[in-house]
Each structure stands twice: as structure tokens, then as C-alpha cells.
Symmetry: C2
Subunit: 604 residues, 2 copies
């Protein structure tokens, strides 16, 4: 099946191909004979996937689209302050080849006009055996994800015709804005303008900017986020020459155009767009390039004002652990103590990308918790990205919770947040599942509020909650038919596909159950502790084990073997009946627990 | 517990209070005697929650911060094109009281400088018995969420001292940019500048812009999204006078300042910030206002380039229904057919806010599905916001799936997406839970690939999958002890808290199970169909019903009453044993199903 996005781009391409206004750039002889009908559109997603239509593999010179990338490299080489001292970040309101130097200092208005671009080129360092230009070319290539090269013909032609840029460079030298011999600077600047790219290259370069400076396919961090932020800011206000305001209003994406007909636009975090069509408007921008960007921004809501909607529902739920009990059965007394103290343990369920707004929702909820809350569980299983500010908020929250005498647990399959907090010296419990975190909360609450009633670390099968409904005598009778087994950390107790071999009662330690996930790799299902059972799942139609069960630390289990069960059913049907009834109850306690776990997500 | 954000703002307030540069505005006598130490900061979240520190309830005149709001009202009154004909959207590079009219036409550069602001005021209509100024004041009040008023003293003082604005207005009149008598325009302009606000008011006004023009507390849609987008675009490039580029680079939020010391900044979708501190810098902006905005942007990563990261993980999973089977037991033959055709039914699980990038991930996956996929389930239970473009993508996808002969099902607790698709004439199945959608897929696959093997619509209890392990004879024996019950749509069959009354077998129709959710309101747990059982959950420790079970359409159920079960246990222990064992197996089939449902979310 074709993608609707391909269809959409085809439609846009056909419609905008009718736009015949403008003329290709003709001031440089080597660029004069271009086919004005060349027309390519590439929409690259921030993860590197591309949609393309038209002449997207045709090469042309990058021209002024080189400016933001050289500026970025200069910022990385010299630091923000040193570059700012030489080049301002203000829209000039002038066209690309205006002089626009500040009175007195000679500082160019920004790095997107020629004067600022020449200065940026002069600020790039040669290093590590690579000349300045070699480093510029390598940077462009890293942005594009392939080795780019210079058109010697266009370079020579530019060098011969670029009188105005020669003048600019000498003027900048006279103000000491360019501090070295201007000739090599002019040469490198013309070389960078003559780098040959395709629409696809430009789209990948734009997508790398959209992806915080990391090329989405090579995974190369070409530029750090700080210079990327600066480059995109300057592209936003100064990228489209004297059209800055109209561009921001109608397109709302940082952009840059070049006189060879290229145009790029970047929606941070989302897309890189590139268009190639040589005929230019009066501002020196591609007529169709501008039209495509306007059209896509409007149709696909790519304007930065629209794109910013995030994190409004980062806090998906906040509730006490009574809503999602562990399902562990306890003595009547312990259960009563727990019931009276459930509100002291609170779960906050977070979701999506955590930017400031999401983190704010979390700390707002934390700050408003009742005074008697002692334990806080942050359930991060549905969180995608944790921004720097969100991570700092986690640290602040951990600190304030500790100050208030509260304990913090984090549920996080990947564990990155908990790990980072622990590295910073915060006292945090980390769990892979919410059930495990709730179990910890229950134990903590019992320890704090009824020290005597804490579940013993070792629960023999005749004390197992699963068998409790049978009464003590029958449970002892059953226990006498069991065998004790011990396992070391990581040992497999039951493997997926094995035949039903009996019901296992965990006396001490923990086991982990695993199965193949939707994408083929293994997923953890849950962690079971003392007093819980496993093995019954192999009771299914083909009586085979559906999960792998592994020891998580040293484990002692007691097995009621399948043969003993068969013998019971034959000779002691009343005891067998009690046994199965008890297991049915136990199973439905778990069904209910899982229903509650999923219910949080299906509210209406 | 205090919020770490309150602590943070306190720290920033203390630190930046040390900044003593600048002088309060003194050109208007009525504004001259202000306390330069007044200093308030309000950070309003897009949902209306506010953090405030300092003199946030002190009133001062709004001055130029009125400009974007009047401009928005003019855009709403006259439409984009008519306003654009009178006022451009380009940064002027000039200070606020520069003339900045275009040569020849006299068109002001933008609506944030005085010339453009006077023009915007002239474009607002009087209507519905309200004068132009009354409508302006009402709009500001709606943005603030409370009735604002004018300081007559400041107004009179402005009117007397504002010679330059008088000159501007007459100049604009001479160019026919202002088309009516300039005097009432000047008066209304000075009145709008003299509207009294607090820092809190300004923060709510900014938050309303951040919230797409809807006041987050009153829920009033003060301005449509299109003019809001335009206003924020112009604030981004022209809001901070000749500092536009530096502002975009260092703060990256659309903003506006006023000479009385107010400053607002807006991060679309996230926050509205307001600061009040009278001493001004050389550009006429509040020294501390600028400092606070810069500091918060940097510390909290509020720059639009950072804030844009969304939708990268919108597609949470894509897998066939074999990963999450319905758990309905079928004949060996039907089960085989199903197993051979599982890959023909595909689930795409989506997540978070669906902007373009998220919708793109979905259609990309759809376009890449194997040719033999016949059924597509979009699981939207974790989706928060569906943007306009995402909704159009859903429609496009529905259309293309239909063209390719594929059927579409949507899992969506709220049902809005499915409803909208159906209204547009698309053929869509809607479900509240994934289990229900999977059940539908299984039935469809059986109908298409083994028409004879479809589960009959009515399953009597002796044919129930739950009792299948007992063998036909014992199942019939049990069925003879059951009673038949029928219910109409919506009738409650079992209510939460009721005592265990037996095990229910669904013969035909569906039931819905519900329980109180984490936030107190009811949540749907799941929908059960013919051949499935309920009531066993009341087997828990206190033998009470844990969920409410309601008929979803007409339902026929068969109940094995609690008394019959007790009688069986007493007199036919072997049959009772077989019964409980069968139920244990059935329960663990469900445990396994739920484990798989949650496992999708805990991959490592």
C-alpha cells in the first residue's frame, strides 16, 4: 500500500509545478544553464525516514544554505561569546548581498547575510591536520550523511564574478572583524558555496538540525544542541533575507534558501524539509521552494506555534496503592493495618515526553500530596524522553521528598532515571514493574506501622496464602506431598514449552517470568516473591509452560508434582477439590489485579 | 511539601532582585512615581495553574503589551488579508517609537511598533452596541479572566504627553493607512495603553495565548488559533523592538514588553510568563524582565527549539494479534485456522499527542504492512491529543485501507476518532478495549478463511470452553444444575460488593465489567462474550463481588448457583474437583492474556 503522505506530496508537486514565476540565478556563468523545470521535494522525518518526489537526486550548488552550517561550526570552534563579538544575531531587513555592517564596529548584522557568513567562515579553525575548508566540507558531509564535494567549475566562476564579496571581505578586514588575510577566507567561502548537494542531501542536513544535531541514520552527533539552538534561532529570524517576518508568520519554521534554487526548513524535533527549484523571486529565494514550504506548513500544521503542544497530559494518574494492590494475601491483622494506611503510599503515573510542562505537572502533584503520604512511586513505564530540565526536577523532587521524610520509588523498565538519581546520591528504590513497587510499599507500610506483622521472609507452603482457604490441616496434608527445590540466581526453573510438571510455591527469594514480546525479543512479565505460586499456566489446553521462570537471586521453592496431583485426584477427590478451589480463588485474585493494572489506561 | 518550582522561582527572584540597572519610564508624569523595587514573577502553566513570587498583585498600566492583543482582535475582526494590507509583519530593527513606515505606501513595518499598533486599533470594529474601545477592553479582560479597567489618570497624562503618537496617527491618516478621524484612534490607543493589570493578569493573558487562544480557567475561546498563530509569530520576530534576533537566540519565546515594566513571554502549548519590574534598559524593556525570561528559558529549556521535541515515539508498537490473543477457546480445527492466519490482523499501538510526526509514523507503518494483512487495529487508548493533520491522516489511511480491501478497527476509550471517521462515511469498527478488537479480528478471520468454523452466536454452558477440560458428560451434568437468566441492555447483573452467588456462563450477547477507577469515576474493565464466564472474582477473601457486571445489549446467561456448588462439594467431590480444576485452567488462561496485554508496555 502506498503512503498517503506520498500521495499528498505528489499532489503538491503537480500543483506547484504550475507555478512558472521567477528566473534562475544568472550572475555566475557556471550556474546559468540550469533547467528551470527541475523540481524536487524531500520531506525527511527526524528519525531519518524520507518521502521524496521529483528531481531529488539532481545535484546543484548549496550556495547560501551553507551559511547556517558554517556558522554552527564556528560556534562550536570558538564558543558563543567569541562569535557573537564578531557577528550579531539581528535580522538586517536587507537583501542577502547588502553590506549591513554596524556603524563604528563593522559587525555584520547576522551570519545569514554575506558579510556575516564570510566572518563565520573566517572563524572556523583548521585542526588535526585538516585545513579550515576540509573541516567545513567534512561537517557538511556529516550533516548530509555522505561525502560531498566541490564543483571546481562553479567555484572558479564564483571567484571570478564575486566582486562584491571581495569588497565585503576587505571591508570586514578593515574593521578587524576578519582578523587574517581576507583572500583565503573569500576562497573558502566561495568553495563552501560551491559544494554540490541533492535535495535529499539538504533534507538530511535539515533533519539533522531537527534531530538536535544528531544525524538520524549515521547517529553521528555532528553539532551539539547549544549551537544547533542558536543556528535555528538565527535561521528563524534571519534565514529568509528581508522576508523574515512574513516567513515566520506564514511558515513558522527556521529556514534558509540558496540562489541555486535550494530551500531548507526545519521543524525542531519533527522534520527537515528540502525543495529544489531554480527560478528565484525578487528576494533571491526559490519561488516554488517558498510555495512548498508555505503549503506544507499550512496543510501539515508544521508551524512552531502548533508544534509546541506537548506535555499537557504528562501526569496520567495519581492514586494510592489501594487502587492497584499487590495481591499478596496476608494475615487478617496485617491486612487491616495495610488497609488503614494505604493512603500513605501514592503512585504517580507519567507519560510521553517529559519537557518542562510535564515535569511541572509531576512536581505540582507531589507538592500537593497530603501530609501523611510517606511513600511516593513514580511510574515512568510510559515515559518516552526525559529532558534535562525534567531530570533536574526529578533530582529536586527526590531531595525535597527526602527532606520531608518521604521515600521514593521509581518504576522504569529501562532504569535510566533511577540510576541517574542514585549516582547523584539520592535514596531511590528502582523497580521494573508497578506490582513490584506496590509490594515494596506494602512491606514498608507494614514495617513502619505494624512491625510485628511483617510477612516473614520465608513462607513454607502450608502457610502459603494460596492454600489459606483450605484450612491449616488440609494445607499441611498437601505440603507433605511437596518436594523442596533450590535455585541460584539466574537459573531457569521452568522453560517455555515444557509440559505441566506441577504447582510451585515460592518459600523464599524471587523469580522472574519472561516470554517473547511482540517484537520477538524477550519481555519481563512480572516478579513473584515468597508466598506466591507459579507453574499453573501450563494447565492450558496443550498443558505446556507458556512462560520461562528464572531465579532472581537465590530461591527456595516447593513443588507439588503433577503425579501427586493426579494421585490426589484419583484417591482423595475431596482434598483435590479443595486444592483446585483454592487455586481458582488465587488465580482470580491475580486476574483482578491485572484488570486493575490495565484499567488505569482505559478510563472513559 | 513546597514545590521545587516555588523554591526555584524564589531563588531566581532573590538573585535577579540584585540587578539594579535601568530607570523607570518617566516621560508620562502619571507614571513617574513608581517604586523601582516592585518585582513580581508569575509562571502560568497552559492549564491555568500559576506559580508566583513577589509583587504579583500590584497594578500597573499594560502599555505596549496591549499591542499583540489589539492586533489579534483586529485580525479576528477584519481577516488576515485586510489587516496585512495595512500593517506588515516585518521586524523594523527600530526602537518602539520610530516611524518605520514603508516608503510610498506608508504601511507600518509591524503591529508591535507604535505606528502599526495605532493602525491595529483603528481596525477594531465597534459592534453589538459596544464601542471599539469597549470591545478592546472586553477582549483584554477575557484574556486575563477578570474585568480590567482603565486608569483615567494615566490616560489623561498619556493623552497630554503623547505628541509623537499624535504625529504618527496623522501621518498614517495622510497615507490612508488609518481611514477615519485619527483623534478617536489616538484616544482609544492611549486608553488601551492605560488599562491596569497585575503580573498575574499578564501571565494569564500569556497562558491564554499559549493555550491556543482559550483561557485555561474560564475555558473561553477568546481568539481563534489562526490569529493566535499570527500574533505569536509577530511577537517572535518583532516583540522585543530592536532586540528581536538576540531575544530569539537567548530566549526563544514570542514576547512583548511595556514601558511600565511589564514583560510577557509565551511558550506555545506550555507556559505563559509575566514579569513586573519598572526599571528599563536602553531599548525600553524591563531590565529584570529580560533577565528573568533569559534565565528561565535557559534553566527550564523553554526555548521553542527545545520544546518542539514531540511525537518521536508516537508508534509504540506494531504486532499481529497472535501477540495478544483474545483467550477465547475454540475447536481444534478453528484454532488451527486462526493460528495460520494471525499475521493477517495487525495492531498498531499509538501514544501521546498526535501531531504530524506521530501521524506520519502511523501511516508509514500502514504503508509498509505485508500484502496479506486484511485487518488493521489502531489502538489509541494512550493517545492524548489528535491534531487536525493527524485526523486528516486517519481519514486518508481509512480511505486507503478500504481501497486495498482492508478493514479498520479503532480502539479508543473516548471513541472520538472512530466517531469522526464514521461521520465522514468511513467503514470503521470501534472498540473500547483491545481485547474486544482482537475478538472481532479473530471472528473476521474465521469467517473469511473458515466460514464453517465460526463460533456459534449462542454457546450453552455444556459447550462452554471453560468446562471443556471436564469432558462432555460431566459438563452436561453441571449444566443441569444451572438456571437460565436473561437481561436487557444496560441491566446490572452483578453489583460491586454483592456476596458470591455462583459462576455465570454467558450463552449469548455481551456483558461489560466496571469498577471505580483511580480518580473515583468508573472505568470499564472489559467486555465478555458468549462462552466466557464471570462471577468468580467474588471468590476472593471476603467473598464479595469486586466489579459491577452490566448487560451490553440483550444477554442470556446460565448461573451455577453458590448453593449448587456447595451441594456438589459436599455430595459429589469428584465432580466438584473437576469443576474447580477446569475453572483454575480458565482463570490462568485469563492471567496469561492480561500478562501479555501489560507486557507490551514493559519491554526491556
Amino acid at each position: 500500500m502506498d503512503s498517503p503522505i506520498d500521495h499528498y506530496l505528489q499532489r503538491i508537486h503537480t500543483e506547484i509545478a504550475d507555478l512558472k514565476d521567477g528566473k534562475p540565478y544568472s550572475s555566475i556563468p557556471a550556474m546559468a544553464n540550469v533547467d528551470p523545470d527541475n523540481f524536487g521535494i524531500v520531506l525527511a522525518i527526524a528519525d531519518g525516514y524520507v518521502y521524496e518526489i521529483g528531481d531529488t537526486r539532481e545535484e546543484f550548488s548549496i550556495q547560501s544554505i551553507s551559511k547556517p552550517f558554517t556558522y554552527g561550526l564556528a560556534l562550536a570552534d570558538r564558543g558563543m561569546d567569541d562569535v557573537d563579538a564578531k557577528v550579531d544575531v539581528e535580522p538586517s531587513g536587507d537583501s542577502f548581498n547588502e553590506i549591513s555592517l554596524a556603524e563604528g564596529t563593522g559587525r555584520p548584522a547576522n551570519a545569514m547575510i554575506n558579510a556575516g557568513a564570510l566572518t563565520a567562515t573566517s572563524l572556523v579553525r583548521g585542526s588535526g591536520g585538516n585545513s579550515r575548508f576540509k573541516r567545513i566540507l567534512n561537517t557538511y558531509s556529516a550533516f548530509a550523511g555522505r561525502q560531498l564535494s566541490v564543483s571546481e567549475r562553479i567555484y572558479q566562476s564564483e571567484l571570478k564574478s564575486g566582486h562584491r564579496n571581495h569588497a565585503l571581505a576587505y571591508l570586514l578586514r578593515s574593521f578587524d572583524i576578519i582578523e587574517s588575510d581576507p583572500t583565503p577566507v573569500i576562497e573558502d567561502y566561495f568553495r563552501q558555496c560551491s559544494v554540490m548537494v541533492t535535495t535529499l542531501d539538504l533534507a538530511m542536513m535539515a533533519a539533522t538540525l531537527a534531530n538536535s544535531g544528531r544525524h538520524p541514520l549515521t547517529n553521528d552527533q555532528v553539532l551539539d544542541i547549544a549551537p544547533v539552538e542558536r543556528v535555528l534561532s538565527v535561521m528563524a529570524t534571519c534565514g529568509m533575507y528581508d522576508d523574515a517576518g512574513a516567513w515566520m508568520s506564514s511558515v513558522g519554521m527556521p529556514a534558509k534558501s540558496g540562489v541555486a534554487g535550494g530551500t531548507i526548513a526545519v521543524l525542531p524535533g519533527q522534520i527537515g524539509l528540502a525543495v529544489y527549484s531554480p527560478p528565484l523571486d525578487a528576494h533571491g529565494s526559490s519561488v516554488r521552494g517558498v510555495a512548498v514550504a508555505q503549503r506544507l506548513s499550512s496543510d501539515l500544521e508544521l508551524h512552531f506555534v502548533r508544534a509546541g503542544r506537548t506535555g499537557r497530559s504528562a501526569l496520567r494518574g495519581s492514586y494510592d496503592i489501594g487502587t492497584t494492590p499487590s495481591g499478596i494475601r496476608r494475615s487478617e491483622e496485617a491486612a487491616n493495618v495495610l488497609r488503614a494506611n494505604l493512603a500513605r503510599a501514592r503512585i504517580l503515573e507519567l507519560n510521553g515526553d517529559l519537557l518542562f510542562a510535564g515535569a511541572e505537572a509531576m512536581v505540582r502533584e507531589l507538592a500537593s500530596l497530603d501530609d501523611d503520604v510517606e511513600l511516593v512511586v513514580l511510574d515512568l513505564r510510559s515515559v518516552d524522553e526525559v529532558s534535562g530540565v525534567a531530570m533536574r526536577m526529578f533530582a529536586e523532587a527526590a531531595h525535597m521528598l527526602a527532606e520531608a521524610g518521604r521515600s521514593l520509588a521509581v518504576v522504569d523498565a529501562e532504569g535510566a532515571v533511577a540510576e541517574s538519581l542514585m549516582e547523584d546520591g539520592h535514596d531511590v528504590q528502582a523497580f521494573a514493574t508497578r506490582s513490584a513497587a506496590v509490594e515494596w510499599c506494602e512491606e514498608e507500610l507494614l514495617e513502619r506501622h505494624a512491625a510485628g506483622l511483617v510477612q516473614p521472609a520465608r513462607i513454607l507452603p502450608d502457610d502459603s496464602p494460596a492454600l489459606a482457604p483450605m484450612g491449616e490441616e488440609l494445607a499441611k496434608n498437601l505440603a507433605a506431598r511437596m518436594e523442596k527445590l533450590t535455585y541460584d540466581d539466574g537459573e531457569v526453573i521452568r522453560r517455555i514449552g515444557q509440559r505441566f510438571s506441577g504447582v510451585y510455591f515460592i518459600a523464599s527469594g524471587h523469580v522472574q517470568t519472561l516470554m517473547p514480546g511482540p517484537d520477538g525479543h524477550r519481555v519481563k512479565l512480572n516478579r513473584l516473591g515468597a508466598g506466591m505460586t507459579f507453574g499453573e499456566m501450563a494447565l492450558g489446553e496443550d498443558r505446556r509452560q507458556e512462560t520461562t521462570v528464572k531465579a532472581d537471586g537465590a530461591v527456595e521453592v516447593w513443588r507439588l508434582p503433577a503425579e501427586e496431583i493426579a494421585d490426589l485426584e484419583e484417591n482423595e477427590p475431596r482434598l483435590a477439590m479443595q486444592f483446585w478451589r483454592a487455586l481458582t480463588q488465587d488465580a482470580y485474585t491475580r486476574v483482578e489485579q491485572y484488570l486493575r493494572e490495565t484499567a488505569v489506561r482505559v478510563q472513559d
